[in-house]
C-alpha cells in the first residue's frame, strides 16, 4: 500500500483535476476529432495552452530543483502502434481516458461502461492474454532506444538514471531553447486565432465559475496548473489516468493493496471532483445511450486500454504530461494518438 500522505495528495489533486475537467469539458477525443469533424477548435486551444503552461512550469520547477523530469522510455514501435490503437479506441468510447473518467462523475453510464472496458483491456494487455503483443512490440527490432544507444548525454534537469530521449538531449541543446521556441509559436497561433470560440456568458463570478462551462483559455491555464501541482505532489511524474484505473482493477481482483498507486487515488478523486462540479452546475444526471452505443463504448474502452498499455501511457500521460517534458516517446505517441483519432473519426462519421 502506498503511504497515507500520497493517498491523500492523490485524492486531493484528483478532486481539483476532476472539477477543472468537468467545468472545462476538457476532452482530447473532442479536441483532436473536432479539428476535422466539427471544425471546432476551442478544446484543441485549451489542450495547447495546457501543454505550454506545463512545459514552462515543469522546466522552471526542474531548474530550481523541486522536481526532476522523468520522460518515458522510447519504445518507438510500441508508441506508434499503441498510440494509434488508443486514438481509435477513444473515438469509439466517446471520450479519452480523462474525458471518460470525468463523465462518469457527471452520471454518464456509457462512460462508466467504457471505463470498465478500459480496465479490462489494460490488464489483459499488461499481464493477460495479450501480454505477448505488448512484449513483442517492445523487443527485437522494436527494442528500447536510449540516449546511451545514440551516444548522447542524458541531459540536464532529468532524473538520475533516466536515459530516455528528449528533444533536448538528442540534439544536444539546452531544453530551455525548445521550451521558449515552442511556447512562443503556440501562444502566437492562439493569439492570432483568438475570437469566435469565447463564450458569451455573462453574470457574476460565481455563475461563471460554477454554472457555465469555462472559456478555453481558463480551462487551459487551470489544467496546466493542476498538472504542475500533480508533479510537485507525486514527484515522479505529472498527471496520468489509465495507470490509476489499471491499478484499481488489479487490486480488486488480486486483493493486493500494493497494486494501488498514486494515480488510483487521483482518478477516484477525478470522479468525485467532477461529480461535485456537475451537481453544483445542475448538470449531474444518470443517463445512458441505447444498447448499441453502450456496446460501442465498451469496445472503445477495451481498445483504449490495450493501446494505453502498449503505448505505455494514455492521452494524459503522453500529451499532457510527457510532451511538456519534451519526451520523444510522448511526442511520437501523441502524434499517433491523433492519427488514430482522425482515422476512426473519418471512417465512422465522415465517409460518404
Amino acid at each position: 500500500m502506498i503511504d497515507t500522505s500520497l493517498m491523500i495528495s492523490g485524492l486531493v489533486v484528483g478532486v481539483i483535476f476532476g472539477f477543472v475537467l468537468q467545468r472545462g469539458r476538457f476532452c482530447m477525443n473532442s479536441a483532436f476529432r473536432d479539428i476535422i469533424l466539427l471544425k471546432e477548435y476551442s478544446l484543441i486551444k485549451a489542450v495547447s495552452l495546457a501543454i505550454v503552461v506545463q512545459m514552462i512550469g515543469f522546466h522552471l520547477m526542474a531548474t530550481v530543483g523541486w522536481i526532476q523530469l522523468n520522460p518515458k522510455p522510447f519504445y518507438w514501435g510500441a508508441m506508434i502502434v499503441g498510440g494509434f490503437i488508443f486514438g481509435i479506441g477513444m473515438v469509439l468510447a466517446a471520450g479519452c481516458a480523462s474525458g471518460t473518467t470525468y463523465r462518469v462523475g457527471e452520471g454518464m453510464m456509457g462512460s462508466f461502461v467504457a471505463l470498465i472496458g478500459l480496465m479490462i483491456g489494460g490488464l489483459t494487455t499488461s499481464a493477460g492474454a495479450l501480454a505477448w503483443l505488448n512484449s513483442d512490440l517492445k523487443s527485437g527490432v522494436f527494442s528500447l532506444i536510449t540516449s546511451d544507444d545514440l551516444g548522447v548525454e542524458p541531459g540536464p534537469l532529468i532524473k538520475d538514471g533516466n536515459t530516455s530521449l528528449t528533444l533536448a538531449n538528442v540534439l544536444g541543446l539546452d531544453p530551455w531553447i525548445f521550451v521558449v521556441i515552442i511556447a512562443i509559436v503556440i501562444l502566437a497561433i492562439l493569439m492570432w486565432k483568438r475570437g469566435g470560440e469565447e463564450s458569451k456568458v455573462e453574470g457574476t463570478a460565481y455563475e461563471r465559475i460554477f454554472k457555465a462551462g469555462w472559456d478555453w483559455w481558463v480551462t487551459g491555464i487551470a489544467v496546466g496548473i493542476v498538472g504542475m501541482i500533480a508533479f510537485l505532489a507525486f514527484k515522479n511524474y505529472g498527471l496520468g489516468i489509465s495507470g490509476g484505473w489499471f491499478g484499481f482493477l488489479n487490486a480488486l481482483i488480486t486483493g493486493d493493496p500494493e497494486k494501488l498507486n498514486w494515480f488510483t487515488f487521483l482518478v477516484i478523486g477525478v470522479v468525485l471532483g467532477a461529480s461535485v462540479a456537475a451537481v453544483i452546475a445542475g448538470e449531474f444526471k444518470l443517463r445512458a445511450p441505447n444498447a448499441k452505443r453502450l456496446l460501442q463504448q465498451f469496445v472503445g474502452g477495451l481498445i483504449m486500454g490495450i493501446g494505453a498499455v502498449i503505448g505505455t501511457a494514455c492521452n494524459i500521460g503522453h500529451i499532457l504530461s510527457g510532451i511538456p517534458q519534451l519526451a520523444l516517446s510522448s511526442i511520437l505517441g501523441g502524434v499517433f494518438i491523433i492519427l488514430g483519432t482522425w482515422t476512426a473519426a473519418y471512417i465512422i462519421f465522415m465517409r460518404g
Binding site: C27, E40, S42, E106, M108, G110, P289
Partner: protein, 80 residues
C-alpha cells in the same frame, strides 16, 4: 424573436454521447428548409455549448438556448 416560436421539427438526442448530438443536429439542419426552426433536446453539456457555437458559425440563427432541467437543454435553431 419571441420565445414562444413554434418549432418546425424536434430532434431529441438526449442520452446520446459525443459527438452524436452535434452530428445528428448538423444532418437534420441540412435536410431542413430556410426559415424553418429546429428544436434540439440535449443532455450532454459539451454539445449543449458546442451546437449553438457551431450552428452560428455556419450562419444559422440561435433563437434560444434554455436549460430546461438538471443536465438538460433545449436549443432553438432558425435555419438560414
Amino acid at each position: 424573436m419571441s420565445s414562444d416560436v413554434k418549432p418546425t421539427d424536434v430532434l431529441d438526442v438526449r442520452g446520446e454521447v459525443c459527438p452524436y448530438p452535434d452530428v445528428k443536429t448538423q444532418k437534420k439542419v441540412k435536410a431542413m428548409k430556410s426559415g424553418e426552426v429546429l428544436e434540439v433536446l440535449v443532455d450532454y453539456p459539451l454539445s449543449a455549448e458546442r451546437i449553438p457555437r457551431s450552428m452560428e458559425k455556419a450562419g444559422h440563427e440561435i433563437l434560444k438556448t434554455e436549460k430546461t432541467g438538471t443536465g438538460e437543454w433545449k436549443i432553438l435553431i432558425k435555419i438560414k
